[in-house]
Subunit: 265 residues, 2 copies
Amino acid sequence: MNALLKYETRAQKVGSLVSVGLDPDLEKIPSAFRSQKFPQFEFNKYIIDQTAEFAAAFKPNMASYEGAGAQGMLELEMTINYLEKAFPDVLTICDAKRADIGYSSELYARAILDVLGFDAITLHPYLGKDGVQPFLSRKDKVSIVLCRTSNPGAGEFQDVESNGKKMWQIVAEKVASGWNENGNCMLVVGATYPEEMKIIRSVVGDMTLLVPGIGTQGGSVQAVMQAGKNSKGMGLIINSTKAIIFSDSPAREAKKLRDEINLYR
Amino acid sequence: MNALLKYETRAQKVGSLVSVGLDPDLEKIPSAFRSQKFPQFEFNKYIIDQTAEFAAAFKPNMASYEGAGAQGMLELEMTINYLEKAFPDVLTICDAKRADIGYSSELYARAILDVLGFDAITLHPYLGKDGVQPFLSRKDKVSIVLCRTSNPGAGEFQDVESNGKKMWQIVAEKVASGWNENGNCMLVVGATYPEEMKIIRSVVGDMTLLVPGIGTQGGSVQAVMQAGKNSKGMGLIINSTKAIIFSDSPAREAKKLRDEINLYR
């Protein structure tokens, strides 16, 4: 099944646009997990089991695993294998922020989409379309291109203006037109920039946006929903990481986010 | 020792501005290596031993290792450990093209610069300075920011023009001014764009440029040297990968490139 359809089917089934970030940074997970043989995997499994009924997607950030070396890569593999077995209808996003040229991009696509088997991956736009072609060519997988990121300094290059258009708008237009031949592109648009999100929504039609920046980064669910939902009251994957996974009750926090989002659908 | 000084010292010692790319893609290395227990490491060791006397830097591309899974990451670790032991005065560049936000970037910096111990890393600029701050803050390490890449479609976003300046020029200016507080920044400028390189040289003073795109990608050594060398006849790290490592005689090809470069210094 195409990964976009997988997401939409899951989102409708559980009535949720929530993505749960799986960033099991070894310094931050509870000590009870740190002493286990596979601390990152065991922590992820606990989070997944707690939150899956409220989640349409799970999004591990590759940095959390690469930061733990070869062992971390093994635990990422265990995590994706567990997800595929226990919750095969939930979208899996590898937040890897990759992009290289030619054969190097092909190798990243193989590693993350084919071998690990993620449904989707985040990508840097700076090299242009040919830099990410191996990802775009995988029709059943989703390429999620960084457009307007959630960090405070995002505007340094993203706000550079050319003929009345900011760079993030130019990226949105290019991805929505020339890059999306297989209907498998999405964009990253931070919850911290709802004004920009509104313009991006007007540029990309019903394309789905991955939205980080809710919760500890300060983005508002209401503002995101008003600026970002598409004509079907969907078209958003709203991610929360720390506010869910490092809380006393990940299930409660995931449910709370789902319900808050649904107030504005 | 600061990594920039390490490079300059080595380049002067061996009279070479050559970087040898270490991309031991499993489908491309000779079959004699493929049957070994650590094929990527053994191939790298052979290349390193053949070419080190002509090399000022070695540059593994992370995609070649990530593409081989946890085993690949182990063989990258074996490679950097071998380099540190056998050729401690050669610059080591991890061509990882990373950049994320906040703590995720910190985790990448730890993994690649602290734990693996590379001297330098390549970075995407799109997120802005705060996205790569953890790399910039490591004073002894070098941050090499993508500016004008060597791929055919590089211009899609890099040529977007604002107030008479292309995006690659804006990136060069920002990195040379605001990002380079620790004097530890370099830029990636493809050999396939010598006109742009000439302008970038005029913008960044004596800053060192990492130059991919010589050899199989079609860049000319003469054009690069004329456009890119700094006031000391240096300021360039000229990388070649396939034309060296997949040749019958890596030593001969590395020497040939060194000598050709030196014709124009």
